[in-house]
Amino acid sequence: MLSKKIIINELSIFFKISSDSFNEKTIASEIPDWNSLTHAELIIHLENKFNFEFNLDELMKIDNVGDLIKIIQKKHK
């Protein structure tokens, strides 16, 4: 299973900010460049990076970084 640290590190690389800016409760509006367009780019980036695909239900359940981590970890069990 992918660790929380690896996923947060990937977010930090993608948004080009420190990984300290992310925790499980972080929501998109708290990250300056996290908008609808970059969200779509991020999802595609994560799918390519970790080699899996989000389904529609999973995409709609992402409210914060914690949800994102949970879904990715579930896919990598």
Binding site: S36, L37, A40, E41, I44, L59, K61, I62
Partner: protein, 272 residues
């Protein structure tokens, strides 16, 4: 999921628009309950048909719903706040009709409609929240000073926040991702999805050319803002009155949209 707007528009076509808004809220709540695997019991039924919220919003996702609790209903019911907001709705309506009858200027009329819509809608959402809280629910913020928004994107993050969030996460982002995965350039995917989302929101209010234009108008502005945001930020980074210019630009752009759809909005205001 991305075809749901078509279903919604079909409903809007077939029933009176005011009921259309309510039916759409019921559908959204039913979908949220389905998405988060709500149990098939009376509590889920109450969530889907919770009258205070399906009439005016805010839209509450199922994850923000707690079991209805009548314990301490009268202690939690903030009657003073409800009366306060009812007075605002009535006072704004009276004040609006008085000023409206004294002007022939369409711009001033649109401005009056805009301000009346804002204060009445915000108060209606607050009353729905008061009733929800007294039944054991949490507060759902639906407005965050939209008159102080510094861009149209910022405006839609402050006006009817709960609906905007639903449209963003359940329509806009999904279509962008779906189109981008089919090989379409990501920015073009975003453009198509943002136009689709705003046309859907516009036609949800009323099936008319005015609201079709409303959808294209905001879709294009938001796309341009997203694409040029960093350039504009760089240009105005050291400018002292950056926010003031942002507020003037946003409110002017919004007023232009109300100029187009004011006839419909006039009908839904509470005016004595």
């Amino acid at each position: 999921m991305i075809f749901i707007p078509f279903l919604i528009l079909a409903i809007n076509f077939s029933v009176i628009n005011l009921f259309g808004l309510t039916i759409i809220f019921i559908l959204m709540r039913a979908y949220s309950a389905y998405l988060f695997k709500a149990p098939k019991n009376i509590d889920t039924f109450i969530y889907i048909f919770f009258i205070p919220e399906i009439i005016t919003g805010p839209f509450r996702p199922y994850t923000h719903w707690s079991k209805i609790n009548f314990n301490g209903f009268f202690n939690k019911l903030n009657l003073f706040k409800i009366i306060d907001h009812l007075i605002i709705i009535l006072f704004v309506g009276i004040f609006f009709s008085y000023l409206y009858s004294y002007t022939n200027s369409k711009i001033i009329k649109s401005l009056l409609i805009y301000l009346t819509l804002y204060y009445q809608f915000r108060s209606a959402s607050e009353i729905a929240n008061c009733l929800s809280i007294s039944l054991g629910q949490s507060y759902v913020k639906n407005f965050n000073s939209p008159l102080l928004a510094t861009s149209i994107t910022d405006f839609w993050n402050r006006w009817h926040i709960s609906l905007g969030y639903f449209a963003k996460t359940h329509v806009n982002q999904l279509i962008t991702i779906y189109l981008a995965k089919t090989g379409i350039n990501i920015k073009l995917s975003y453009f198509i999805s943002v136009i689709y989302t705003f046309v859907f929101i516009g036609l949800w209010h009323n099936i008319s050319y005015s609201y079709l234009f409303f959808g294209f108008y905001f879709g294009i502005i938001i796309f341009l803002e997203r694409i040029f945001a960093s350039t504009v930020d760089k240009i105005f980074s050291n400018f002292k009155f950056k926010d003031v210019i942002g507020i003037i630009y946003t409110q002017t752009a919004h007023l232009i949209s109300l100029f187009i759809v004011s006839e419909y909005i006039y009908k839904i205001l509470i005016v004595p």
